[in-house]
């Protein structure tokens, strides 16, 4: 039987240009994305989108007022987009644009709070675990494994089911299910840092574990933690949306992107597509913009990755 060989390297496709390892980008291309869109264009698009969304979130409530989200007008039910209501009205006659903007505000506040709480908790646990090491580290990491073994959404549902209808329960459920990722990143970084000679020098000079942690380790992992928080932000938005969509998140009177999508299910079947278009559009725009900015930051923070990709 003749042996079949798979061509690799330059001979595989002579017209494909110089050979490079799989997954590496061509020189001049966008780093790590496998796309032809330059990094600066993606950055400008992401930053512009986020600035626009934040500006709208700040301006619209001032113009419309919070009462606009609660004003029910049964003479104006399911009006399509038009002059009076730019993005139409929902099944209670409420302005969809105003509710979508205020919903985005609530979702973003919840997501930012969740990301900050999860990052602080994960950084603290990961740093202490990595710095102390030994049995403490082993026990903490098994606890982390235990948290990771349970599906995040399931654990989140369990927590909000116990204290449902509360903003705090949503924040706690998302933060408690996402700190483990940050803890793992920070622990790995601390394990690498604690063998550096400047840490040895500090120990030799009589520094306590706490001093080494506060003076050297935490400042060193702070950029990684901040990046983890930024990467967690879009995920937290989706998590809050999922919980609210399932009816376990925020109370119905508090507009969030999730509650709006959940409310619009029946309206869509009646042909009122605009009731879901506005919250879904804001959701996609916000998450893509934040994820784009976080990706750019990650590429800036880890230059080694860029140089490897530029081979």
């Amino acid at each position: 039987m003749s042996e079949k060989t798979v061509p690799t390297g330059p001979e595989a496709d002579p017209e494909a240009g110089p050979w490079r390892p799989a997954g590496r980008r061509r020189p001049g291309g966008a780093p790590g994305r496998g796309t032809a869109v330059p990094a600066r264009v993606r950055l400008a698009f992401a930053a512009g989108t986020l600035v626009a969304v934040v500006a709208v979130i700040l301006v619209v409530p001032l113009v419309a007022g919070d009462a606009a989200t609660r004003t029910v007008d049964y003479d104006a039910v399911l009006l399509p987009p038009g002059a009076g209501h730019l993005l139409g009205t929902d099944d209670a006659g409420r302005d969809v644009l105003v509710r979508a903007v205020l919903g985005a505000r609530v979702s973003l506040v919840v997501a930012v709070t969740c990301a900050v709480v999860a990052t602080l908790l994960g950084t603290l646990v990961g740093a202490v675990s990595g710095a102390v090491g030994g049995l403490t580290d082993a026990i903490v990491m098994r606890v982390v494994d235990g948290f990771n073994a349970v599906p995040h959404l399931l654990l989140g549902i369990l927590i909000v089911a116990l204290y449902r209808g509360s903003l705090i329960s949503v924040v706690v459920s998302i933060a408690l299910t996402h700190w483990t990722t940050v803890a793992r990143i920070v622990r790995a970084e601390v394990l690498s840092l604690r063998s550096r000679p400047y840490v040895d020098a500090a120990i030799s000079g009589g520094a306590s574990r706490r001093t080494v942690l506060v003076r050297h380790l935490l400042p060193a992992v702070a950029p990684q933690s901040a990046l983890a928080a930024a990467l967690l932000l879009p995920h937290a938005v989706w998590h809050e949306t999922a919980l609210s969509f399932l009816g376990l998140g925020l109370p119905p009177h508090l507009p969030s992107l999730g509650t709006m999508v959940a409310d619009s299910r029946d309206d869509v079947l009646l042909g009122a597509w605009w009731t879901i278009a506005a919250p879904a559009g804001v959701l996609v725009a916000v998450t893509l913009a934040v994820a784009g900015l976080a990706g750019w930051w990650r590429d800036r923070l880890v230059p080694r990755r860029r140089s490897e990709l530029a081979l």
């Binding site: 040895d200 020098a201 030799s204 009589g206 520094a207 574990r209 003076r215």
Partner: protein, 216 residues
């Protein structure tokens, strides 16, 4: 006297970097250890500086037998043995200014003049103290690291190829400074290097690695 007797140490189970190494360091003298790269000189320094726990052997510091190492060792004991590392770039926190690096081992309530005194001692000008490690040369950074180590006023100073990254002029200045410290402060100094000329020029006695490493 700082001594290590029958030291066995490594970084992975079953791998012995030090295998029955013994060394005594007297106050007021400079002892040189000459050995090729990778023979275990830096590990010996880490063990004697109480930064690495030996698998076997005894470390004694002025007749006090040391049983615990790194953070477990009493801070007062750790502060009696200072270390100057080979690579100043990795021995200094890149986020700190030279002033913060120099004052790192001083007591929390030390006046700024104490930092200035240490900086002057090693020949660092005041304008350098506001810079960060990436803004100064290797020689200047190594001086800052030496000043930091002297901040604890250690009885013993362990120098791990401290001049390997420096030019001849900077190396000569640091060696001169170390000699002055030995005579003025009665410190015991261990200099390890693979450069016989350097050790011959500055050490009171020079030992070859083979003389220290006698397998148990």
């Amino acid at each position: 006297m700082l001594s290590g007797t029958g030291l066995v140490a490594g970084y992975h189970r079953g791998q012995r970097v030090l295998d029955g190494v013994s060394l005594e360091l007297e106050p007021g003298s400079i002892t040189g250890v000459l050995g090729p790269s990778g023979c275990g000189k830096s590990t010996l320094i880490r063990v004697l500086a109480l930064l690495h726990t030996p698998e076997e052997g005894v470390v004694r510091l002025d007749d006090h037998r040391v049983d615990r190492f790194r953070h477990a060792a009493p801070a007062a004991l750790r502060r009696q043995v200072g270390v100057v590392f080979q690579h100043p770039r990795s021995a200094a926190d890149p986020r700190h200014t030279l002033r913060r690096i120099v004052s790192a081992h001083l007591p929390a309530k030390s006046p700024p003049q104490e930092t200035d005194r240490l900086a002057e001692l090693v020949g660092l000008t005041p304008d350098l103290l506001s810079r960060r490690p990436h803004e100064v040369s290797d020689g200047q950074l190594q001086r800052a690291c030496l000043a930091r180590t002297l901040g604890t006023d250690p009885r013993y100073l362990l120098c791990d190829e401290m001049t390997a990254m420096l030019d001849a002029s900077s190396a000569a200045t640091l060696v001169h400074l170390i000699r002055a410290q030995v005579h003025e402060r009665d410190r015991g100094v261990l200099m390890v290097s693979h450069d016989p000329a350097l050790l011959a020029a500055c050490c009171d006695r020079t030992l070859h690695w083979e003389e220290l490493a006698r397998p148990t």
